[in-house]
Symmetry: D3
């Protein structure tokens, strides 16, 4: 495979209530394809990078639709294997005003979660890649998925491929899988070149607590601890979100480097949110784009935050926008119709 970036993780189908309805208020569902790592893959593909997905989908029309949708966005799906089993699903009610959005997961026992770890030939799958993107969701889906994630990370380390790891800590998934979250995540963090994580993730991975009164101080302390614990780690990036109502959030972001640099992108107000799902993944893709393109830290975190903010205006899990679209979102006061 000649892709520059390889993403590994589960593809999910989102089944959502249309518009601002409650789930099944009317008997119709809109469908989107998602999955944390696939979202990053699609975003990077649309930003111009060669991306390949490694995954397993159900051997039925749902699985075919999921991989077809990746392909439509330019992602190489030759290594999205079709296998007996079910697709992971989630049901979504979008929020509005004082009513929060709500996700009902139905992803247990999926073809991906139950796929045998030794089916993945990582040296072959990663050949030629420069980046491997993983998240903390895959290892929380069960023993096999955890083993596969670890194997991917280890292979990447060995081959000098940079690992991007998004913490995405989900206590409920870990409870069900019964895996040792801390041990597994520690190893994954140890392989990473960049982690998308904040003080809460670090508290899980490193133990203890980052209880500083000041938000900035908490993140700084967590970053310091992370760089101390994981010698290979070069960057930690995170967003800071406040949800004033379901449709109005504010979002800031920062990127901390092993060299002590701290680039902060100023908080933006997001009113009239269309779809908040996948915003973290779009942010991660934006930051990765900056790193891959050699942006400096300020430009990198600025681009990442703009990509994440822009995603709130796009329906679905994916962020199918180009570099020019992200750049346009960074210009204040220039949001009239373009014609």
């Amino acid at each position: 495979m000649s892709a520059r970036v390889v993403c590994f993780g589960e593809l999910l189908l989102r089944l959502g209530a249309p518009g601002q309805q409650l789930l099944l208020q009317t008997p119709a569902l809109d469908v989107h394809v998602g999955g944390a790592e696939a979202n990053v893959g699609v975003a990077l593909s649309c930003l111009g990078h060669a991306v390949a997905m490694v995954s397993v989908v159900a051997d039925n029309p749902l699985g075919a639709a999921a991989s077809g949708e990746l392909r439509r966005h330019g992602v190489d799906t030759r290594h999205v294997r079709r296998s007996a089993g079910r697709m992971g699903l989630y049901f979504m009610t979008a929020g509005a005003g004082l009513r929060s959005g709500e996700v009902v997961y139905d992803r247990a026992e999926s073809a991906f979660a139950t796929a045998q770890a030794d089916h993945y030939d990582w040296p072959a799958l990663l050949q030629g890649a420069q980046w491997l993107h993983l998240s903390g969701i895959s290892p929380a889906l069960g023993t096999q998925a955890a083993q596969a994630t670890l194997a991917a990370a280890r292979t990447a380390c060995e081959q000098g491929i940079k690992v991007s790891f998004d913490g995405n800590f989900r206590p409920r998934l870990w409870e069900r899988s019964g895996g040792d979250a801390r041990a597994i995540l520690r190893e994954l963090f140890a392989c990473a070149h960049i982690v998308f994580a904040d003080h809460r993730d670090m508290a899980v991975v490193l133990g203890g607590e980052f209880a500083q009164a000041d938000a900035q101080a908490r993140v700084d302390a967590a970053a310091a601890a992370a760089f101390a614990a994981f010698p290979q780690l070069q960057y930690m990036a995170c967003t800071q979100r406040a949800a004033h109502s379901a449709s109005q959030h504010s979002l800031g972001a920062m990127l901390l480097g092993r060299d002590g640099t701290r680039a902060v992108a100023p908080t933006r107000e997001l009113a009239g949110i269309v779809d908040r799902i996948g915003a973290g993944d779009a942010f991660a893709a934006g930051v990765l784009h900056g790193l891959m393109e050699g942006f400096d830290s300020n430009a990198t975190i600025g681009f990442g935050l703009a990509a994440g903010c822009l995603k709130h205006a796009i329906p679905g899990d994916f962020s199918p926008v180009g570099v020019a679209d992200v750049m346009a979102a960074m210009e204040a006061g220039a949001f009239d119709v373009r014609r």
Copy 2:
């Protein structure tokens, strides 16, 4: 009937333009079932109370759909009688920005409005109930409906069932029906344990005017006059609304007690309103829930206002939310997607 709460009133079908369109801008209509008293009934049912509806619907698929929709939300419809005649309808254009929403009523000569008052056997219909909810709309629909409403209220009084009465004064309906609004409403207020009404309703019922310069003073004066005039009345509740644009309102509420207490729920800003219809009914249901559950006055009006505010984020006339949903709407800054 073993329901704790009995609601009496007309079921309506709302035929509305989809999305933010003007009415019949495209040739399609979305349908919702509503009616002031039914809205209260559905909301109370979803808050966990046993509710029965007493009404009359058209003996055709429209009437069947209306009562089926109540049943779907857990309301007992055994006493929703089907009868020859038509369903009351209303056509709705949702507002947006500087364009106000607009309702076109088409409810004259409905099966409910023309049903004979003596068809209702109130002692049987109210047996076992603890609350009866009525509104000022039913008696404005015509002589028979007014007689039926009065008979319901009198029976409740005699049997020690608490009457909840929502003023809902509609001058146009009264003009058409030709009934003596003041006399009829006075008797209904006299039976009530709680009224949802403000100084304008009180001016109609008691005559005179509450012309204090200060909004709070007007409501206080109206409440004082109400408690003086109606010895059985224990509570008066009302909201205060300002509509900055069709999609941005602010809403506060207060609950005044015979004992002179005045609980005020602070005003909330509602941006991105989805559907404002039925918000007053959701508020009433929230207040009734507080009273039924023994909340103190502050908790009661707080819960009521949150229920009313939350309704603005829900399409349709009904407020199909649980206690936890209302509680969640009361927490500031916690409106990110729940997953």
Copy 3:
């Protein structure tokens, strides 16, 4: 023809992504009929004026639909000729949040753009009219369209019919057509009773630049130059827009008279924008309504701005609202549902 107002220009079909989707994110398109001059015509018709459209559409179901839609709004289409060729189209993605709306034009070689100028018998077409409305788009579509626009304007001048001209300067169209924008526009401005234009349009027409630091000063200078250059010109009107995000703009307007008067309508905040297309045309129609009804300058520009603002709350290119609707949009704080 007995219409009071004659509009001349191209009818377009807008093919737009439903809701807040990206173009072709799902395989469906919503269709609206538009065109700058037709938008003005429909708005004036709905404000109560007798309006006739002069245009050419494709001799196929698309052309039939376009003229049918004008007729539906009361515009006389007897002089909308059907001819071989294609309809002008544009594809539209509505903006949201930090994502600007975007128009992709597909209007080249349309039946209108390629129609022979000498097919229009202007003395007959304008007989009985009091106003002729034109815009700067038609002459930019090609030689024949430019000749037709000039002929219309000249005939109107000769017959004492007031010409309303909306600058609508589009450099890309002029580049493609290769016409002499300045010369043609100069002649059209010279015929006009009122122009909808600001300092940028005037810089194009008159040459030079209006580079005053202050926005008001720039417009004043442009108006002064315009009245000096075009003795027949009585009014110049323009809006001032700021686009804070795709869904939140602010809009002000002013009307400047040859007599030196300057009526300014205060800026309004527009949140939750539904559809910004056609707002300038609705503004123009509102100003023309004021002039036709004999409003004073302040009332005229106030009505025009309200009409323009109200359009942002209406899907589609047209502004199908009545005088009462515009008046209602001018009242602050009265935007609750009307029932």
Copy 4:
């Protein structure tokens, strides 16, 4: 008014379940404008005739939509008056297979039905017309509507305008209105140049029964009786329908002349019916087109039947097709896509 054909009757809104759903199976309704006489008017307009509608609609957005829809199809609506009151509605469930379609009328007390007969100035309304089209529905809607219909027919007779009358006998409407159906219909038949009616209508109008065993003989006898009773009557036309299932009918037609001619159009099989409503009106329009164009009897009834058959393939009440479309439907075996 310079229309060649004037139609008088009520405009209705059809509110129908989408696709093949049961009414309100999902909470959405598709809307069509109809009304027996308006259907004829629209069909004739699309066949190239100048048509004007005389009617009364509600003074609200529903009435505006109804008349706008006529205008869109080229019908002159200057004499569609807007008046206080409600629009006549009907709710529609399309049939399928062994489930018959079903109409629920909700048209009582409409603005049209309650309009005063003396508001119509028939000599002015009919000035310049060559044909007046009426049906048996209007006089069944109530005393005022019956008086208006009679006045229209009488005026037409006096002015030498040919009256086309579609029997459309609806016992239920007559029962409710309490009018003397036979007397009123007799007078209307007496004014008619052509009636669309069969032996059942004739039995109502003339009394007695046409009980011949043979279908053809029944129609012949009815025609003979009609021509004997009504000296002014020149033609009687009718269809013969068999409904094998809701989606498969067969339809034939015949035209009988005062001179004893009987033109029969052979029965056609209609499978996969899209919308059967308005087929009788499309047939009537087709026959009138033949008469107006001077077709012979065979060509007339052939064109009429083809128009009626073609309507079964078109959604909605209207038959918006041109002459070429009807001609195409007459060619056997040539139904592949045209491109």
Copy 5:
């Protein structure tokens, strides 16, 4: 519980491609609630019987929607328990022409399938019932579901409640559950008053094969064997279907009695099939209706077949039709629109 009929089984959500699309050809799904036993329950409720459902649904909005939909159709859902777990789903592509419809099940590990058998208090659940309806699907879902089904059947037997059992043999489900299909089904057949089954089901239950060349002879032999093996069994009913294309089937039915009677309902042609799912359940409900109402065998099987045929014209899994609707479907040639 005072219901006459109790149904026990799983509620499913059908997620189907809209119209005639392939699954996920466009990203939308229509939702219907179904389940073999619930389908029978809804049909009987709509035919006028008091029906209660015993089931378990997921404790989330999907489960709430499923039970709400039953309630909407008048089924008592007090004993539809909400429990942790997932809803059973199935994905549906409707067939057309030479493309067969296709179901993809996703029902493993549902809240119903994993519910503990001893949670059902059958004596209480069946109190007052006259009929219990079960099917062969529930026992195939797993050990607990099989135990619950057997317990229900045994309790009914003991209490003299008639058991209706629909074979619905699904080899794939049995394979996965690993249960002893023959032993379990034998016991259920032994409890039954009526079974909906044909020679294939009987071959499974009794072993051996019914290999007569003649279709009728096979069914006769199977019935004879069934009555011999199961002394309590009074009736065996089955349909005979031929699928000429996905949209054109023919369907016949017969009812065989222990007394040797054999009532045969003649085969009907079904063209333009709307939705074939649930037709067997509608047939079973029709037959049960006949038995409950005391129809003779011919009337019973005729009503049953008509109900089954009619279902093909109704979208969704349910058959929400009344007695009059079924009767109407039995009249040949009377399928024009009713108005």
Copy 6:
């Protein structure tokens, strides 16, 4: 490129009226991607072959959507170049009953039609391919497109790549382009291994007329003439269609070999047609599949006809079905829902 099959031709967007509506009867359009050669490519890809498309699309969201849709179906789009210009469009009204479907083309001056012939590097584009599929539409689009098609065919000939050529003779396109249809087509036929063509195409290419009374004789004579004129040609395949109504066709097919063999697939009746567009392309793909897989002539034409028939049951231009789906369509009487 390692694709086995290369297709060259224009991608089109189909904008169609939803369901059975007339074009723009409601203001919405469904969108499909098509194009004769792309249809063949998608079908072959779904049948399991490696396919690459060579084309040019507009450098805007429409072009991106078109190539994304090919990619979704597994077609390699690396050589679908994006270029300034417009997308070819066509507007579609589906037929029903006696109303034929209708296509309105709007494809003139598209990016594909105006692309320079010398931009295609055929030796590189065809490297490794075994088949090249072309049609008679591309050379009819203009000089450049004709040159490009000829260059492709010549290169294939030189490299021993088999050329499949679908006649698709469109007189209207040739008239507009002004090219020498006969000369160009002759050269393309001369390069072909198989042509999809009948006696009408052959009459165009070879001159003269095949006027035998018998249909079979006409095709035989045309084939004989073709094999005589084009020594490289091995096969001629064609369908025979009769359109009884817009929704009911019958379709047969035959394959004639240079060796004099004639394989005939028996005619099938197609009722309830969903979408007839692309059926010829699905047929061609089915025949090519047979040839590539080494089927004998009877199996090849049988598979091809089944693929063509099956397409009538699938919405859109593409035939996204697998081998098993085509095989299933060949089994008579087995069209019940598969579950």
